[in-house]
């Protein structure tokens, strides 16, 4: 490694330095404290994004496939996800303001933790080596544990953090054990070298065990059944902006490594793992959606719904074809925006601490905030996969991938479950439009309005003219697809 190689990780370096500085600002006392933590964070994110784009242009001429042989790749796939992460975190910063002001928590700690979490996510997106991926994942997880317990005085929040920490630590250990077994058999941790080693192996129990453990660890991170039980409790207990973070940015990062590991590293053993993952996916969709129906707490409902969405995204992994890979990329974007919009609404209804989180709290919203209620309907339809919202485009890719791969039964479960999911999404619509109950209290602030506005525009625009996103997904995933020798697709 020489200094020229620094350009690959320059955005992460800048982000780490920035986040560290933010952590130190309160210590300096008087002068620093007058700065606005929020704006500093936004500037930091903007600089990171700018550097990322600059660096991506600088390494443009380097063969993206060659990058895969290293530990860290600044390829199309990672840039796609990194920009999504930065966008999501920027919106989360907007969403967090009220929460911080209300609890008089130190914004510096909070934002710098978000910065470190983002850094972890960016490493995950770029990791082409299991160690890089693992370290990124741990950085994200450790930051998330603390953030989940940020309501320091609330028992529920502490409980959420404890649960998340203990289960997360166990799952990390399982993941690490899986990685070590794979290393033992394949002699490398680079995904391409693993793939190369695997192509010569017919069958090997240790390797199978390793893949299984690795898969289990990853499934914990995306909250797929049967590794999902932490999700509703953590979402319910964690501060709402952090629940939003866990269900959008953090989840998308886990989707990214899922895609990367299985598409680049483990595709030769597709036949061995696809049925296991198919079962997990089916269970996630069924249990996630059915359990969400009975929830009265919106945060828990969204928790179960996010389990179901993990099941949909797994369709893209199982199919192992070009459509599936594109589907994961497209769906991540679509899912993040629709979900953030809903979380913005939950935050808007939040009066203090945990109030305003029940389905009943949405009652009569259409009367006093008609535009907001309309936006909410669009977000819910998008999560349910109803055109003309972006959610339909995302689901279209995943369902199409499953049909093309011959997982017809799984596709049938998926479409039926997405119909079931409308049942509980409609509960919120019913509350907003069809019930004229108590007057819901809410406080619309400018940052919330901006976030909801962006999410609404993106969700509708990507639903009606999805070409740009699809083209970008095709382009960004092309070299990953080429390496995995995926089933071609006549569409392009």
């Amino acid at each position: 490694m020489n200094w020229n190689d620094m350009i690959y990780i320059l955005p992460e370096v800048i982000l780490t330095i920035g986040a560290s500085v933010m952590l130190l600002v309160p210590v300096t006392g008087g002068r620093g404290a007058r700065l606005s933590a929020k704006w500093m964070m936004i500037v930091l994110l903007a600089v990171t994004a700018g550097t990322l784009i600059y660096c991506s242009h600088a390494v443009e001429n380097i063969d993206q496939s060659r990058q895969l042989q290293a530990m860290f790749a600044l390829d199309g796939f990672s840039i796609f996800f990194k920009l999504l992460f930065i966008g999501a975190i920027a919106m989360l910063v907007m969403l967090s303001e009220d929460f911080l002001a209300e609890g008089k928590y130190s914004p510096w700690e909070y934002y710098s933790l978000l910065g470190f979490a983002l850094c972890g996510m960016m490493f995950m997106a770029s990791g082409v080596h299991l160690i890089t991926i693992y370290i990124g994942l741990e950085l994200l997880s450790l930051s998330s544990y603390i953030l989940a317990g940020f309501y320091k005085s609330e028992l529920k929040s502490t409980e959420a953090a404890m649960k998340y920490f203990i289960l997360g630590a166990v799952s990390s250990a399982i993941l690490l054990y899986g990685i070590s077994l794979i290393y033992g058999v394949c002699g490398s941790l680079n995904l391409l070298e693993i793939a190369a080693a695997m192509s010569t192996i017919v069958t090997n129990d240790a390797l199978m065990f390793g893949i299984m453990l690795l898969g289990a660890g990853l499934c914990f991170k995306i909250a797929a059944v049967p590794f999902h039980v932490w999700t509703p409790d953590v979402y319910e207990g964690a501060p709402t902006p952090i629940a939003a973070f866990l269900s959008t940015g953090s989840k998308a990062a886990a989707f990214a490594i899922f895609a990367r590991i299985f598409y680049t590293g483990l595709h030769d053993f597709h036949v061995e793992w696809n049925y296991v993952l198919a079962t997990i996916s089916a269970l996630s969709m069924i249990i996630g959606n059915l359990a969400a129906i009975t929830q009265d707490n919106v945060k828990r409902m969204l928790g179960y719904s996010s389990i179901a969405h993990a099941g949909y995204v797994l369709l893209g992994v199982i199919s192992l074809n070009a459509l599936g890979l594109r589907g994961i990329l497209v769906y991540s974007v679509v899912y993040v925006f629709a979900n953030l919009g809903i979380w913005a609404t939950v935050l808007m209804l939040r009066r203090h601490q945990y109030a305003g989180e029940r389905v009943d709290d949405f009652e009569g919203l259409s009367k006093r905030a008609p535009l907001w209620a309309f936006a909410m309907v669009i977000f819910l339809l998008s999560l349910g996969g109803i055109p003309p919202t972006a959610g339909f485009i995302g689901k279209y890719f995943l369902f199409a991938a499953a049909v093309q791969a011959g997982f017809g039964w799984l596709a049938v479960i998926a479409v039926l479950m997405s119909a079931v999911s409308m049942f509980y999404y409609l509960r919120l619509v019913v509350a907003m439009y069809l019930r004229e109950g108590v007057e819901a209290e809410f406080a619309i602030t400018t940052p919330l309005r901006i976030v909801a506005g962006i999410c609404l525009i993106v969700t509708l625009a990507l639903g009606i003219v999805p070409s740009s996103l699809i083209d970008q997904a095709v382009l960004s995933s092309s070299h990953v697809a080429a390496h995995a020798a995926l089933t071609p697709h006549a569409g392009r």
Binding site: I386, P387, F399, V403, A405, G408, L426, S467, A490, G491
Partner: protein, 531 residues
């Protein structure tokens, strides 16, 4: 620009204008604007009627084509075009659109702005569905229709509106997502194939073009056709609705406001039958034949079951709702006779059912506005206080039961001929349905309009006002027109129907060169041929 786009999006533009420029307190302005938009849309659709060339064959059958690239990476096209079948259905939609808007003037007294916006949005969705010649586009419009209807039932409905609205939404949605899988299977058969199922694709460029699938449909292996047809069947049969998927219908109809019921009966149910005739039959000839016995059996059960259940209803609206199940059974039976006669009857009956049942729902709505009950037992002797209303109700009922010289007869008779041509057993079962149809409607009429006027609440009922009279008369004119001069309608659907028959059974016309001479007044000729 494309005239079809204009027809499709006039209601959408109207809805946006109402949303942006009219304050919600000004109910009058909203009502009149909505009426103006609906009328404008109807006039635009008349342009289609006068410029449509019924003689177009082959690719010329699809007229007013408008093709534009939409999602190039998936090769999804924005492809609009209509044939005679879609033309009639679009005209029905725009016409019933006016009826729906005007009939809501008195009935909808709260949240008017939202109501008319949703009604207009729904109209855009419906017209778009009939125009789309690209599966992706079709699916988008098909799903868009769900949302406004959900709100119309859910906000302005009766006491059990929440239950009815959710049931309607989920039922239809589950059917349509399964249909989406069938569309995907077609898509991959045409292009890449489905390697895991050992199905080799044709290797064509990926496309969603319906016409392309009309061309390659017969190449699909029978087993695959079986499954694809099942997916389409679930999507469309729920919408029709066929027995045993009909349970959402009575709930939705009873709870929906009058205009919602009118639109639901007149147009939304036709989406299902239209789907069969446009997609399932021409694309999947083998699948159609494999499923034929089941579909026909369910249609016949639907005809008789629907009629029997109508017979015992105590609620007028529910009675009319169940009669729809019976009538749509006829439409399906005629369609699956798979001969030109049956298919023509089926298409004409789609229109007839829209007009007659729309009129019946409107009439039930009118009396409900006055008395706030739909229970048959509450009424009796209404002919004495509401003579005009009674007369119009009689005409609508007679049209619905198929009295000659009214529209219902033309459709039902042609369907029976087509069915009998195929199997006399089918026709015999179906004719039982006609008898029962006469029974439940006449019995309803007898209980409501004749007998002593003994309920004091009914003694001061007002007869129809000018607005209601106008709406009903316009429907009656249509009933009579189709009843005595159906030839022009049959001419329009001649080519599309023969096209479908040729797709399902390429040798049909070779085997039977003389089915009946085209372009003749059908009722008379039909009788002669059957002799």
């Amino acid at each position: 620009m494309g005239i079809l786009n204009i027809v499709t999006y006039i209601p959408l533009i109207g809805a946006v204008l109402i949303l942006l420029f009219l304050p919600k307190e000004n109910g009058k302005a909203i009502r009149y604007t909505a009426t103006f938009v609906a009328v404008a849309d109807f006039i635009a659709s008349l342009y289609l009627w006068f410029n449509f060339d019924p003689k177009g064959t082959g690719d010329g059958m699809w007229q007013f084509r408008f093709i534009h690239s939409w999602i190039p990476s998936l090769n999804v096209k924005y492809d609009f075009g209509i044939d005679g079948i879609s033309l009639l259905l679009i005209l029905l939609t725009t016409f019933m659109g006016i009826i729906a808007v005007v009939s809501s003037f008195a009935a909808i007294d709260h949240r008017q702005k939202e109501y008319y916006i949703l009604l207009l949005l729904l109209q855009t969705g419906m017209i778009g569905t009939f125009c789309a010649l690209d599966f992706f586009l079709f699916y988008v419009f098909w799903e868009i229709m769900l949302v406004p209807m959900y709100f119309i039932i859910g906000i302005w409905g009766g006491p059990r509106k929440l239950y009815a609205a959710i049931k309607f939404f989920l039922y239809t949605l589950s059917g349509s997502v399964v249909m989406l899988l069938s569309i995907l299977a077609l898509y991959f058969f045409n292009s890449d194939g489905i390697p895991f199922l050992n199905i080799k694709g044709l290797g064509n460029a990926a496309t969603f073009s319906v016409l392309q699938y009309h061309k390659i449909g017969h190449l699909i292996p029978p087993t695959l056709q079986f499954w694809i047809f099942l997916g389409f069947f679930l999507g469309f049969a729920i919408k029709v609705p066929m027995f045993p998927f009909h349970t959402w219908l009575p709930d939705a109809h009873v709870e929906a406001p009058t205009a919602g019921s009118i639109i639901l009966a007149a147009v939304l149910l036709k989406m299902g039958t239209y789907g069969f005739v446009r997609f399932a039959l021409p694309i999947l000839p083998d699948g159609t034949k494999q499923w034929l016995p089941w579909v026909v059996a369910l249609s016949i059960i639907g005809i008789i079951y629907g009629a029997l259940v109508s017979l015992v209803q105590k609620d007028m609206k529910k009675l009319v709702a169940y009669s729809s199940v019976s009538h749509l059974g006829f439409v399906m039976l005629g369609m699956f006779a798979l001969n030109p006669m049956g298919l023509k009857g089926s298409v004409i009956q789609m229109i007839n059912h829209g007009i007659s049942t729309g009129a019946l729902f409107l009439l039930v709505g009118i009396i409900y506005e006055r008395r706030h009950t739909r229970m048959i037992a509450e009424y009796g002797g209404l002919a004495k206080v509401m003579p005009v209303y009674a007369t119009l109700f009689l005409i609508a009922a007679l049209s619905s039961m198929g009295l000659p010289a009214l529209n219902g007869f033309v459709g039902e008779f042609t369907i029976l001929l087509g069915a009998a041509n195929r199997s006399i057993v089918w026709a015999s079962f179906a004719s039982v349905g006609i008898v029962l149809g006469a029974a439940y409607l006449l019995w309803l009429y007898q209980r409501v309009f004749w007998g002593p006027l003994d309920n004091p609440a009914n003694k001061s009922l007002l007869d129809v006002n000018k607005r209601e009279l106008g709406l009903l008369l316009s429907l009656v004119v249509l009933m009579v027109w189709i009843g005595i001069k159906p030839g022009i309608f049959f001419d329009i659907i001649e080519e599309p129907v023969n096209y479908v028959v040729r797709k399902v059974d390429p040798t049909y016309f070779a085997k039977q060169p003389l089915v009946y001479p085209p372009a003749t007044p059908v009722a008379v000729t039909a009788v002669e041929t059957s002799r």
